[in-house]
Symmetry: C2
Subunit: 370 residues, 2 copies
């Protein structure tokens, strides 16, 4: 029995041509601990967009039914040399129904069940997934379960990291995102103070309406003052930045140091002894990260990804996190989408331009069967 269906692929050629297209393919039979999932819903996350489009010029793309062709600018074209000429599947996560399974007991037990999964090939009508990483959804719909992995586990992981590092407060940038709203709920549940950085008044209002105590607006003239006040009140010397480029992380370090110095009785040429830590976990801004020499030497900045975190967190921690996600999938870990599109519709210019902008509140959900 060969299962056929549609799947989306992205190909970047060495001449800078990016081709994203829907193709009819034949899916392999699942073996061992694999399951074949009939995919019903999959979100378009920033981490998917990095592979799907990257920083290609979508505004000037050529779109035809089921196909989008755009130009990739330098230096990103050369930077992605490793993928030149390769036809790559896309889609970290999604949800659907298990229609076939390999021999293993765990895989067989999932047949007929609706599951959330992380196949890496979720933008398709079918996907082969690892039964180990499937989350049975029970009564939860595929749309509600589609984002059960990336954002929930990432936001929970931030709190895990903070607790492990002895922190009782976190700074989060681009904080009105789906992930940011989850983090806001988790922190309230866990008694962690969260300093939310947003860039619009409506995002301040949104997060405050969801119980956020500390929301600072980077578009306000007194942004640094707001940020310092929030850090002073919470002792948040630990933060996560999905913007990456520009000065968001720099502003956090500056504000942390300003607060720490204000509590010192004597001048120290090297700055405060307060350790300051930031993590860049995304690249909403692909420009360079700018770090000014204005907060001494007591700081650490790291790149952060979910997969390496999970690999080192230990099975017990990961299982506890997964259980919490499943238990509160439609409350703490609920996601919102601006629009639903098919595989073909997601390659239409208007839609592509909109979700490629990764604006807060404009996340798309793919429903590959329409």
């Amino acid at each position: 029995m060969a299962t056929t269906g549609k799947q989306l692929f992205t190909t970047l050629d060495a001449d800078g041509t990016l081709t994203v297209e829907v193709a009819e393919v034949s899916f392999p039979d699942p073996t061992g601990n694999q399951v074949l999932v009939k995919m019903e819903a999959a979100p378009i996350n920033p981490s998917d967009l990095a592979l799907l489009f990257g920083p290609a010029d979508i505004a000037n793309a050529e779109c035809s039914p089921g196909k989008l062709i755009a130009k990739m600018p330098e230096p990103f074209l050369s930077g992605a040399k490793g993928r030149h000429g390769q036809r790559l599947p896309v889609g970290n996560e999604g949800a659907g129904t298990v229609v076939a399974a390999g021999d293993s007991e765990m895989a067989q037990a999932l047949v007929g069940q609706r599951v959330a999964c992380v196949p890496g090939t979720a933008y398709a009508q079918y996907a082969i997934a690892d039964a180990n990483l499937c989350l049975p959804l029970g009564d939860v719909s595929a749309e509600d379960g589609a984002s059960a992995f990336v954002n929930p586990m990432t936001s929970l992981a931030f709190v895990e990291c903070a607790k492990r590092d002895g922190q009782k407060a976190i700074i989060h940038a681009a904080a009105a995102s789906n992930l940011g709203q989850m983090l806001n709920r988790i922190c309230q549940e866990d008694g962690i103070d969260l300093v939310n950085i947003v860039r619009k008044q409506e995002q301040v209002d949104l997060l405050k309406s969801q119980g956020a105590k500390w929301v600072v607006n980077s578009s306000d003239g007194d942004f640094m003052k707001q940020l310092c006040a929030a850090i002073d009140a919470t002792d948040a010397f630990y933060g996560f930045d999905p913007i990456g480029g520009g000065t968001t992380t720099d502003a956090c370090f500056k504000a942390m140091e300003r607060v720490a110095v204000s509590k010192m009785s004597e001048y120290n040429r090297y700055g405060s002894n307060q350790q300051k830590q930031m993590f860049i976990y995304g690249r909403l801004d692909l420009g360079p990260t700018i770090l000014t020499p204005s907060y001494g030497f007591g700081w650490t900045l790291s790149g952060w990804l979910l997969t390496p975190f999970l690999a080192t967190a230990g099975m017990e921690t990961v299982m506890r996190m997964r259980k919490r996600v499943l238990d509160y999938l439609t409350t703490t870990f609920a996601s919102n989408y601006k629009a639903k599109v098919t595989l073909e519709e997601m390659l239409q210019k208007d839609a592509a331009v909109e979700y490629h902008a990764m604006k807060t509140g404009e996340k798309y959900l793919i429903t590959p069967w329409g």
Copy 2:
């Protein structure tokens, strides 16, 4: 008995006027575990210059005997708000003879001995120092012992950190400095591969004449190729950068990632799994640090200072490091100076401009008694 003598002070006023002057002062009697050291030699290190002049406009300074007045530009003037109006002593380290001591046995035992010390007030004819941190020099001259602390302990600490973190190779930038030459000798003694980054052919030649195996020249057209080749051969994914501003650290991360990706069989949108770590331990360039989004998320960049390292390294490690420095002070840990100046001479324009430029091979030594 009040001991009087000359001492150098630096004062930055809120209006941007930096005044550095020699004054006749009265030194207090040592108490408890303190000793009074008649200072005979003290080096001008970059870490001293940060406090002495900072980024003030020395080229246009007004100099009169024993006094230098310069303007401090923004944003550094505001950034140093904590010191506005304060008359601060300068000089991390130096060497001299103990002429008086407090009551403690340890302090009393040092009377009459030549010692290296870290008073923080070394640019003076006398200084109060902590007997705990004094290193008896025996037959070693004060000039040879003047730099027994900052550079030797820092370069040794880099190797301690690398070993603790399981590394067998280190990258070092501005590698022809006094500190860099020490690190080159330590690494050869300890079997650690060292990738030296310099910016002149004569520095390549200098380090190679001292046995360095890997020296790459950032002024060469094929710098990145040289750097990648050295990393490939040594597995140096761990480095120290005293430049801070600009793209030195970025170039190291890029080269590390290029080497790691070249060993991968499959494209990964997130980059390699190779952890890459850099430390900024100085600010020879006061411009912002630039980090481009071209090496995934598997990297960590930290500020690094000797004092916090020593505070966490444990007494046993620190004692072992100090013993090694003392045993090899005139070989492994020897420093070179371009010129010797008195406290008054160091405030003459030509000298000040030259040592303020912190060029490799142009370190000055202060001999406060002439």
